[in-house]
């Protein structure tokens, strides 16, 4: 019973923490800390939900979850435990399996999309002497993105090249290269998989959007170290007005996200190390609670 109470508390803390963490401004000044924190919260959230189901289902055994789970399997043919408790255990195991399957499926379909994309790029993209390291595709719409992978590629459309000055294009390139270098796609993948598994859950959407914004901020920081901060800000402004625009009347996340990124570019005062360590430690404590119940 103690396990169930602990796991319920962790689940509630994680669910409660999502909104404040998504709107917090201090994480913007330390995006990498924020990214790690989100991973820990996500891990704690999933594992405490699974653990809670198992803990209630296995309560009669009065043993640690792994031990009780083994006994439950042994007793299953005899039908010792009440049906509703067994149902909870099965649901818990299914949720755990579902999350694992969602991760694997997402990963492989992402790999497939990327491989196809890379092949098509090899056919139609060209390199530009003005912008070494980038692939250019001929299209009037302005897009810039990174194709992550072992050999990451940065792609700009000719429309984007026309819209940007040389310094701005270099800043965009540096931004995308830091995505590719730090493998930000791996950070985003668990949340993309969660969103795919639970598309209707607001909390997951909020978390996924928040971590996507932090990843962009981290890449902005990387670009500012290599290139002029004002060029990056100018490029951001140009992109938010010239490329994909949300329909009139609906203020898109893009606008608020770009505004948030603009507000912190060139204002690089990192947070105090003490605060950073406190945040990381809290995250670790929250994440280790459900894991300790599931492992020991």
């Amino acid at each position: 019973m103690i396990a169930a109470v602990h796991l319920l508390a962790t689940l509630l803390i994680c669910s409660w923490a999502v909104r404040p963490l998504a709107t917090a401004r201090w994480v913007w000044r330390a995006p990498s800390t924020g990214i790690i924190l989100w991973q820990l919260v996500g891990l704690a959230w999933v594992s405490s939900a699974v653990g809670l189901l198992l803990a209630i289902g296995l309560a009669p055994y009065d043993a640690p979850i792994p031990v009780a789970l083994v006994r439950w399997c042994r007793d299953l043919p005899a039908g010792v435990s009440p049906l509703w408790r067994s149902v909870l255990v099965v649901v818990g195991l299914l949720v755990a399996a579902g999350v694992a399957v969602a991760l694997v499926v997402s990963w492989f379909s992402v790999l497939r999309v990327r491989r196809r994309h890379r092949d098509v790029l090899a056919l139609v993209a060209r390199e530009d002497r003005a912008l070494p390291g980038a692939l250019i595709i001929e299209h009037p719409l302005a897009v810039a993105y990174c194709l992550p992978g072992g050999r990451g590629a940065v792609v700009l459309s000719s429309g984007a090249l026309r819209a940007l000055s040389r310094d701005e294009a270099l800043a965009v390139l540096a931004h995308e290269q830091s995505h590719a270098r730090e493998r930000h796609d791996l950070v985003l993948l668990p949340f993309a998989a969660l969103r795919r598994a639970l598309p209707r859950l607001r909390l997951v959407t909020i978390a996924a959007d928040a971590i996507a914004l932090l990843v962009e901020m981290r890449a902005d920081d990387g670009a500012c170290r290599q290139q002029n901060a004002s060029s990056l800000a100018a490029a951001l402004r140009r992109f938010s007005t010239s490329s994909a625009r949300p329909p009139a009347g609906a203020l898109g996340v893009a606008d608020t996200a770009v505004a948030a990124r603009l507000s912190r570019i060139g204002d690089g005062a990192p947070i105090r190390p003490a605060l950073r360590w406190f945040a990381l430690l809290s995250g670790l404590v929250v994440a280790s609670t459900p894991l300790s119940f599931l492992v020991f």
């Binding site: 997402s106 379909s109 992402v110 497939r112 999309v113 990327r114 994309h117 092949d119 098509v120 790029l121 056919l123 139609v124 993209a125 595709i137 001929e138 299209h139 719409l141 897009v143 810039a144 993105y145 990174c146 194709l147 992550p148 792609v155 459309s157 965009v172 931004h175 995308e176 995505h179 930000h184 796609d185 985003l188 993948l189 993309a192 998989a193 795919r196 996507a212 990843v215 962009e216 890449a219 490029a235 951001l236 992109f239 938010s240 490329s243 994909a244 625009r245 949300p246 329909p247 609906a250 898109g252 996340v253 893009a254 996200a257 770009v258």
Partner: protein
């Protein structure tokens, strides 16, 4: 691929070698490249007498449109496959592109 796109009719390997004569490619190299493109589904081939004739499956513009669709789509796996400089919630351009791509096969049949 350039040679295939420039020729309206399907070509044989020798045509490609001739078109690229300024780079002096080996016949077998071209054959290997064409075979690989066929396997990846970018080129289709048909037997004409004793030689294979190769033709592109889609135009260069269609491939560019596919790339742009990947780049502008923010749903499902496409969202996770690429990381963007600026993300937006909905992009009308992506809808227009996917409609254009969906219409294409019907045009071919006419």
């Amino acid at each position: 691929m350039e040679v295939l796109w420039d020729n309206p009719a399907p070509v044989v390997v020798r045509d490609v070698v001739r078109a690229l004569s300024d780079r002096d490619p080996a016949y077998t190299t071209i054959m290997t490249v064409l075979n690989r493109l066929t396997k990846k589904g970018f080129v289709r081939r048909e037997l004409d007498g004793r030689a294979w004739r190769y033709a592109p499956v889609a135009s260069r513009e269609e491939y560019v449109a596919q790339l742009m669709l990947d780049a502008l789509s923010l749903t499902g796996d496409r969202e996770a496959a690429l990381t963007h400089f600026v993300r937006s919630v909905s992009s009308p351009e992506a809808d227009v592109l996917s409609q254009a791509l969906a219409r294409k096969p019907e045009d071919d049949e006419l």
